[in-house]
Symmetry: C2
């Protein structure tokens, strides 16, 4: 495809986003593009819907379709269930009126479709008296009618995916999946239907491979996969290899249309693409941007937009823990930026306030918010207590000044004192009735964290469309090292799925790669993390997080082994940690840290359940949109015990 | 069965719960019971496991098995996946060691099983290279071996149920489901496998009825259903009718063994039972209690323990909203009591503190906590502000005194003032940068609610194994009428699935039915609810909730219609509400209230996502263990629009 065309379609993207043209200007632009189009040109509609907001999605689709018709391309292809939006929700079951609306909007759109075939996902009623209420379907619209409806066969129900909760699985019905596009036979596949190749995967979730069935029975000229595929660490490599493998194996090009945008916790990165019949990548759309992407399956000189930097490099599936996070940092950054932006936009919020402690977590959050929302929409509040060092105060102020965000210092000493005084009095009265008072407690630490959250929520209550930000990170969430109604609390938690060692790397990366260099003061990156809520009696200085927990390098490797290798305590005792290669570590100390990890993790489950929404970034997460564990399962033993031990316990009575 | 036997097995229950006997005393008691046992006597092991705590569950099972062997009964039957515990959790995927442990404990138990056949649920690895990782299985243990393993076919994935996330569906394999018990052929069914009768249900979720397959192919003498069936409003009637229908239709008795106990949000009520071959109920175990329940399928003179009062009466599936909640009150009460008790016990907590406002919500919570945990373990804190009336203060004190719980009055004026002063200063500074300050805000209201939560969490931080209690109710949760980090905040939320009108009824019911009569001061039941956080400028008195929202009677009917009839706004405009029968209501006012409901509900989704765990009680709930909705779907339109409107919007450009 003539690469000049992409300069012009960038203007279409701008018009779709901001309505910059009159109808005449559109026609004019279309007339400039038309001569460059080949007969088999198609459009991958890489668009960002809003879950459940069918009207918004339908009117948006219509704008994209109008552009396709103006250009006279043969087809425009939207992602999976574009009309309903995704991720799905129980509102579909509770308010079937929304699904009725979805069907009606589809029919209304169909009536307006003239020369360009439209392939678009929606949610359909299952009218049978058996099975789930709905189908996850793709409609082909042409000549003012619904030409056909293709129903999804394979229904994922793992991680954040929940298709089987709502949808009935359809037989493959290969013949019905074929539609004619400019005299070519295109076979339609719906997302997961394309992810069950028996040769590619060691283990298959399902017994059918719809791709194989369609190819073998119908011999299509190419396949179209309408997807809504979530970005995760290590997923790009898997996706690329699998799609390439399938195209080559079946000697059939694959057009992969993917959604872009974020919704609560899940993010879709776009990067729709086409693989040629030898498995070669011939087109790839932009990542993390909406795009009206023109391509031609039969023209191998395609445009290949870059993936986020480093991504392709790392993606040899990582078998060992490493502190070299670099290859995944741009993807991480872009995922979080898109997540913040879409969360605010789709819920109608505009402004954010957050506490600036001068520590790493709040610093990284502030930079991300600035880039996602604009500096004028961010308010950083430094809320020092008696324990806060002057260095921290200065770091917070410097950061705000570098970022040019709004800034205020609001000391919390008075709130702390009045609460502390009240508590002293109250606790001694309670102690008369309850004699189980702790000798050492976190009460004072938590008063500080809660006073700060009270201030931030006060701002959110007082100012229009303002959301508070929770600054918890993933390493601390695993350890429950966060205060309920304190730093854990907020309307959104941008970094809750980023471990501490990765956060350090991200901070450095942002200092190097953002337009404005070195916005983060070096001292913030260099200092060792600590909440500055308590004094360590041993050092006389504010307690460091690693003193309370364990070295972050070790902690993050435990998390990595749990999430990526599903290891038990015993497995980890036997394994060699990166930390051990570089430090002396006794077996006793190692076991102590491992046991501390599992003990703390077991009692952190409640905290996970009330964490605000946050972007899922890693390969696995404890985000509640993905990970479910009963809080009362805190007694699980993550260690293996011997069979003999079991027998002897059973025979003890 | 001789009813005398149940007096004696009550002693077994006591021994199982509290280890009251020596081994010799056990033998003695067994010898008294044995002569009363018929040859076909079996035991329904209505026991309460802990999710994931395989060791606890295995050792518990063993104690029950020991009793069965002492008695020499032919079989003891445990509920579904008893060894793993239920509800399931992603820990099974993340830590496969737990599933390995489950299998090993099963094998170890098998080696100790002698004369009594043991039928017990567990989680099994799927060793095939296709499908989900696990099976939901029931093992039959006999003669020191695993005699057979029956795998579940139908995998529910709705409401709180998530089987399909973890388990592969097995073909019915009817022959393998038959085990010999004392020369009789018993066919084993696993929970949902028994819930797909094609004649009973108008709509079936699955295409197979394992009950029919087993009966038709194997002609068993009776069926055994190992269940973990969750209690919900209106479910008992459905369950009774269905089991009775199936027994009669197949002319085959059904033994239904059910779990008892609660875990986080879900509750199992026990009430295991046997239906004879004509569909007649011949045995029923206790509700909401662990029970070693002896029965005999072939002896129709069974013991039938009562269901919670009123339950059978109401359960003719209710087609209209009513304020007569009476028939479901004892079940509601028992569900919440069991939920609180098990949540505390299974997570290792013992004491609770809560704010006592003198209002209905905190009052009902206090009574429930007293009954669940014991009065000495409850601390009620009255935290009056300037707005709090002396009547409210007195009501709180009287309630605490009646309940004999610990009580303290801790005024919050000083916390409020210091925060308010800080806010005044801070807001005017912020206003210089952000000009979107609300003229009227909830900021002051929320300072009060948050100061109170800070006090309660302080107590929980300072005193051993103490949990704070969130007092939000269901009507207010729907409306988002609760303060983040305020009354919404807590370790557990006992009444979050109880609507306001039902709470009033529950309060009256408790006054009449608890051992201690009228513990709740009449004035609390009579006063109209209000948070006493703000003054209504129109009345000069504290703002009432119904002034801010709408009449609770109307609000609760909307909720009822949404949850039970899945109605849209349009459906409700056309329907006649109970409130309309008794009050004059203009169409404009009705539409205004309906629109307010959907507007407020749409922005409350975030609050639902951070609500603490709470018992699911109603037929449907917004508890996040059951109900999932993306927060960004706040733009859903719950109204139907006409096709013409849609067409004209599409053609607008």
């Amino acid at each position: 495809m003539n690469s000049k065309i992409y300069e012009l379609t960038d203007l279409i993207d701008k018009d779709l986003a901001e309505d910059i043209y009159t109808q005449n200007e559109r026609k004019e632009l279309a007339n400039r593009i038309k001569p460059m189009l080949s007969a088999d040109a198609i459009v991958l509609a890489q668009a960002n819907p809003i879950p459940g907001n069918v009207k918004y999605n339908a009117l948006k689709a219509k704008k994209w379709i109008n552009w396709a018709e103006l250009l006279g391309v043969k087809t425009i292809i939207f992602p999976e269930t574009f009309l309903m939006g995704i991720p799905f929700g129980d509102y579909m079951l509770k308010f079937p009126v929304v699904v009725e609306e979805c069907r009606e909007w589809l029919e209304a759109i169909a009536q307006t479709v003239k020369n360009t075939k439209v392939i678009i996902g929606f949610v359909e009623f299952n009218n049978s008296d058996k099975g789930k209420k709905y189908y996850n379907s793709v409609a082909v619209l042409s000549d003012e009618k619904i030409e056909r409806i293709v129903r999804k066969t394979l229904l994922p129900n793992y991680s954040e995916l929940n298709d089987y909760r709502y949808f009935e699985s359809s037989p493959v019905n290969s013949q019905n999946r074929i539609t004619d596009i400019n005299g070519r036979k295109a076979g339609i596949i719906v997302c997961e239907d394309g992810w069950n190749d028996f040769d590619f995967f060691d283990r298959n979730l399902y017994n059918v491979d719809p791709v194989e069935t369609v190819v073998n029975e119908q011999h299509p000229d190419y396949l179209i996969n309408c997807s809504a595929s979530i970005t995760r660490a290590k997923k790009e490599q898997l996706k690329h290899n699998m799609l390439s493998f399938a195209a080559k194996k079946h000697h059939t090009p694959i057009v992969y249309v993917n959604q872009v945008g974020s919704a609560d916790c899940v993010s879709y990165e776009g990067a729709g693409r086409i693989y040629g019949k030898n498995g070669e990548l011939i087109y790839r759309a932009k990542s993390y941007e909406e795009q009206f992407f023109i391509a031609d399956v039969f023209d191998c000189n395609g445009k290949i937009y870059p993936l986020p930097n480093g991504l392709e490099k790392t993606l040899n599936s990582q078998k060992e823990f490493t502190l070299d996070h670099e290859p995944d940092l741009e993807r991480t950054y872009k995922t979080i930026i898109q997540s913040i932006r879409d969360y605010f936009k789709k819920t109608g919020f505009k402004h954010a306030c957050l506490g600036l402690s001068g520590g790493l977590d709040s610093t990284v959050c502030a930079v991300l918010l600035t880039d996602a929302l604009g500096k004028e929409n961010v308010f950083g509040i430094s809320m020092p207590s008696k324990i806060t060092s002057s260095e921290s105060k200065n770091d917070a102020r410097d950061l705000a000044s570098n970022l040019e965000i709004n800034f205020l210092e609001v000391p919390i000493g008075d709130m702390f004192n009045v609460t502390r005084e009240k508590f002293d009095n109250m606790f001694s009265q309670i102690e008369e009735k309850w004699d189980f008072r702790y000798k050492q407690s976190f009460t004072n630490d938590n008063i500080q964290a809660r006073s700060r959250a009270t201030i931030l929520w006060g701002i959110a209550n007082e100012f229009d469309r303002c959301l508070t930000i929770a600054t918890s990170d993933k390493s601390e969430a695993y350890m429950g090292y966060a205060t309920i109604n304190g730093d854990m609390s907020g309307g959104y938690a941008p970094i809750a799925d980023v471990t501490k060692t990765k956060l350090f790397a991200l901070a450095k990366w942002m200092n190097e790669n953002r337009e404005q260099k070195n916005a983060i003061p070096q001292s913030i990156i260099e200092k060792r993390p600590g909440a500055e809520l308590a004094i360590n009696p041993k050092t006389g200085k504010p307690l460091l997080a690693e003193e309370a927990l364990m070295p972050y390098e070790f902690l993050d490797e435990i998390i990595w082994r749990v999430e990526n290798l599903n290891q038990s305590v015993n497995d980890m005792i036997d394994a060699e940690f990166l930390y051990e290669k570089e430090n002396t570590l006794s077996k006793e100390q190692k076991i102590e840290w491992l046991e501390k990890f599992f003990r703390r993790m077991s009692t952190a489950i409640y905290k996970w359940s009330i964490l605000p929404p946050s972007p899922i970034v890693d390969a696995r997460s404890i985000n509640k949109a993905e990970y479910h564990q009963p809080i009362v399962s805190s007694g699980i033993n993550y260690k293996k015990t011997s069979f003999e031990e079991k027998l002897s316990m059973l025979n003890a009575d």
